[in-house]
């Protein structure tokens, strides 16, 4: 066994997994409340990555930042969260709310349109070239933990920690606050919640804001760790986030976190080992096959996901 490689892949997997978990959370929250697959969620992440990149450039760029590095990172994440939160609310208000009572497929098609519109808008305004965060200039790659087989760049630690903090905060919000209670009630039964005096529309708006803000933060984290962003990046993260949410149990918050980690680690290990296992017949580009296989297996064997409860059809 090559322990160095395994540890390295595990670190990669956890980093990737914490990003997927953030995406899966926003996706899962919206699904829980509206029973709507927000297909534009990945594109919100992409916009977040571009906002972070814009803030980075505005504050002097990675080579010569005009503020302290930690402050720069915090500002990037916060700006992306705010921007994406507003974007999410706008999407809900203009693309989904008019279709609240339409047939189920109508908001899904609308979501496709939103996704396509956002992608091409960014393409129109910023072009198809990859943009780089140049994080290596910002924080030297040697800074971090180096012990035996364990090599973790400090930015990875920051990403994992940031994701963890946000997940804990969300968990507290949902379980301990009044808004969280209202969200759970709305997810359980929208009409009954409305009759209990909960302003359902406001709960939905806040859910969209929080979910999209998480996606925005995830976008900046992706940019920091992997460096490169472009207008189409949202597709991959959206897809993996959806998969994570399904595997964890759609609508469940611990499910989304666990599913994200699981898919992230599976993704990293299949990138690392698919070539060895297929004796070079399949390159690392085929690693998505493994994730797809996991998705299909879950749908066949445990469709409600790890933490989900079996769906009961309500009339």
């Amino acid at each position: 066994m090559d322990w160095d490689k395994i540890v390295q892949l595990l670190v990669n997997g956890v980093t990737l997994g914490s990003v997927y978990a953030l995406v899966a959370l926003g996706f899962s929250m919206v699904y829980g409340i509206l029973k709507l697959l927000n297909l534009a969620h990945g594109d919100v992440l992409m916009v977040g990555a571009f906002i972070g990149w814009g803030i980075l450039g505005w504050l002097g760029g990675a080579q010569d930042p005009s503020v302290a590095v930690w402050l720069l990172l915090v500002l990037m994440v916060l700006a992306a969260m705010a921007g994406c939160g507003v974007l999410g609310v706008a999407i809900e208000r203009f693309a989904y709310r008019p279709l609240r009572r339409a047939p189920r497929i109508a908001p899904l098609i609308s979501a496709l349109g939103v996704s396509f519109f956002i992608q091409n808008t960014v393409l129109l305004l910023y072009g198809a070239n990859f943009r780089s965060y140049d994080t290596f200039d910002l924080v030297d790659v040697e800074v971090g933990i180096h012990r035996g087989p364990l090599n973790i760049w400090v930015i990875r630690l920051v990403v994992i920690a940031a994701a963890l903090v946000m997940m804990v905060a969300l968990w507290l919000l949902v379980t301990r606050t009044k808004l969280g209670k209202a969200m759970r009630a709305t997810a359980f039964d929208r009409e009954a919640a409305a009759m209990m005096g909960i302003d359902v529309d406001r709960v939905i708006v806040k859910t969209f804001f929080i979910g999209s803000a998480l996606a925005g933060a995830a976008g900046v984290l992706v940019g920091l760790v992997f460096g490169q962003i472009n207008h189409f990046m949202g597709f991959n993260y959206g897809l993996k986030g959806f998969t994570a949410a399904v595997v964890g149990g759609i609508g469940s918050i611990p499910g989304a976190m666990f599913g994200g980690l699981f898919i992230g680690i599976a993704d990293a290990f299949s990138v690392g080992y698919i070539e060895d296992f297929t004796r070079g017949r399949l390159g690392s580009a085929f690693s998505d096959l493994v994730v797809f296989a996991i998705l299909v297996l879950f749908m066949l064997l445990r469709p409600q996901g790890i933490f989900g409860k079996p769906e009961v059809k309500k009339v």
Binding site: I105, S110, N120, L124
Partner: protein, 478 residues
């Protein structure tokens, strides 16, 4: 529900009872009624005839190619309509089935594969193979609510692209290029006209078959389960089997279309079957009216024609201003309002132009991207700042991006304004801003602009008229 009741009182009996009357009051509704009452055979002939004489009238190869593309898009829209329009399933892997059909044809009839199947064997074999694949892809989600199908099929599309781009036997992004022409009983189709008629015959056949399926027991069951899955199940309809069937039929149509597309192009590339194509076909189905065969056919023709027109900046300008004016005239009531708003916009533009000339001449220094006569008119009306975009059409600074984002925000904001007076007053600068963004940003990159417009159209259409041009308005009883 806390939502205040919107204009139509949905769910109230008299409203439901008067649905037909209300339909008869609008032009689109009356057209839809006439369409509905025409026998299917007449509709089919009405479509096929203009297409049949098209090659006799058209000389240019370019237009013939556009004609063939249009027919291929029509076939795709008909196939997608089965799952999306009749059964209400979100099939996001549809273009992968189209691609599969094309690559299978490449595998059965190309120099690269070393086989030369005749089309009368290849096309049915491909139809069956792709339909079976569609069935298998739908299988994992059979126990779940419809939405999961969207994720599985989207992932399937991604898988398809991964395999086609990276596998050695598909030759990656280079594609397979030595595809043999279609050959029926020893006779090859070599001319564009020939391919056009092959596509037309496929259209007539598939339209007819789909029409008959829709009239059959299965078709009725599909529509029943779209309206209410649970009720359909309680009526002993095998819901899962019906869904998979619809899925497989749609995939089969896509496969046949792919088998026609591959020899038309003479080559297949992974880039032919991506997300852009998927959304375009969705736009066709939704614009025409999901669930209506006539609707999706018209939708496909309209969208493909517009996309072609948008390629060329001059044609694009005509289309843009034309659609804008027609929309205003149709939407604004009372009728005297539209000339007032349009006049106001013209005056607003002239005033802005005058002011710019006096204070900021640099705002007028740029040139328009279009070359038609309309653009000369527009030059003396719209502000064309210097160096707003690079020669590639990317905005150079914040101004272009702000104008674009401001336009979106302004349009969205305008829909929230309750007072009619203020909405009309607000409409004038928004229209002018739209013209500004169009001339300066969108015309600079027509290839991207057309997809921006398609995305916006999908969202706007779903909010304003989800039944499309020819679809039947759904009366939901809550």
């Amino acid at each position: 529900m806390p939502e205040p009741p919107k204009q139509p009182r949905i769910g109230v009996d008299e409203w439901v009872a008067s649905a037909a009357e209300r339909r008869a009051r609008t032009v689109a509704g009356r057209v839809a009624d006439v369409v509905e009452q025409t026998p299917a055979a007449v509709k089919l002939v009405a479509f096929a005839l203009p297409f049949a004489v098209f090659p006799l009238l058209v000389e240019s190869d370019y237009l013939m190619q556009v004609g063939i593309d249009t027919l291929i898009f029509v076939l795709l829209a008909l196939g997608l309509n089965v799952a999306v329009g009749w059964v209400g399933l979100l099939d996001l892997g549809f273009v992968a089935f189209f691609g599969l059909g094309a690559y299978l044809y490449a595998a059965l009839a190309s120099e690269y594969a070393g086989r030369d199947w005749e089309a009368q064997f290849a096309i049915p074999a491909i139809a069956v193979a792709v339909a079976v694949t569609g069935f298998l892809v739908g299988l994992p989600s059979r126990r779940l609510v419809g939405d999961y199908l969207a994720i599985v099929t989207l992932f399937f599309l991604q898988m398809w692209l991964v395999v086609v781009i990276n596998a050695s036997f598909t030759r990656g992004p280079n594609g397979i290029s030595e595809i043999l022409p279609l050959e029926f009983f020893g006779r090859s189709v070599t001319s564009l006209d020939g391919y056009f008629y092959v596509a037309l015959i496929a259209f007539v056949a598939i339209f007819g078959v789909l029409y008959l399926i829709n009239q059959s027991r299965t078709g009725r069951a599909w529509r029943a389960l779209r309206e209410d899955e649970l009720a359909a199940e309680l009526m002993t309809m095998p819901v899962n089997r019906l869904k998979l069937m619809a899925f497989a039929v749609g995939a089969g149509v896509a496969g046949v279309t792919g088998a026609i597309f591959a020899p038309v192009q003479g080559a297949v590339f992974p880039a032919n079957f991506d997300l852009v194509l998927l959304i375009t076909v969705y736009a066709m189905v939704v614009l025409g009216g999901a669930g209506s065969l006539v609707g999706v056919t018209v939708g496909a023709v309209l969208i493909n024609a517009s996309l072609e027109a948008l390629r060329d900046p001059s044609d694009a300008s005509w289309l843009f201003y034309g659609v804008m004016i027609v929309t205003l005239v149709v939407m604004l009531r009372p009728r005297w309002l539209s000339p007032v708003v349009l006049g106001g916009t013209v005056v607003f533009g002239l005033a802005a132009h005058e002011l710019a000339e006096r204070w900021r001449p640099s705002l007028l220094g740029g040139t328009s991207f279009g070359e038609a006569r309309i653009d000369e008119l527009v030059d003396s009306w719209v502000l064309l700042p210097e160096n707003l975009v690079t020669p590639d059409g990317l905005p150079t600074g914040a101004m272009g991006r702000l104008a674009y984002i401001g336009l979106i925000a302004a349009i969205l904001g305008l829909t929230l304004v309750r007072s009619r007076l203020w909405r009309m007053i607000g409409l004038v600068p928004v229209l002018y801003l739209a013209a500004f963004v169009w001339e300066n940003l969108l015309l600079a990159q027509p290839a991207v602009a057309r997809f921006v417009l398609i995305g916006a159209m999908l969202v706007a259409l779903m909010a304003a008229r989800p039944q499309g041009l020819f679809g039947k308005q759904r009366v939901e009883i809550a």
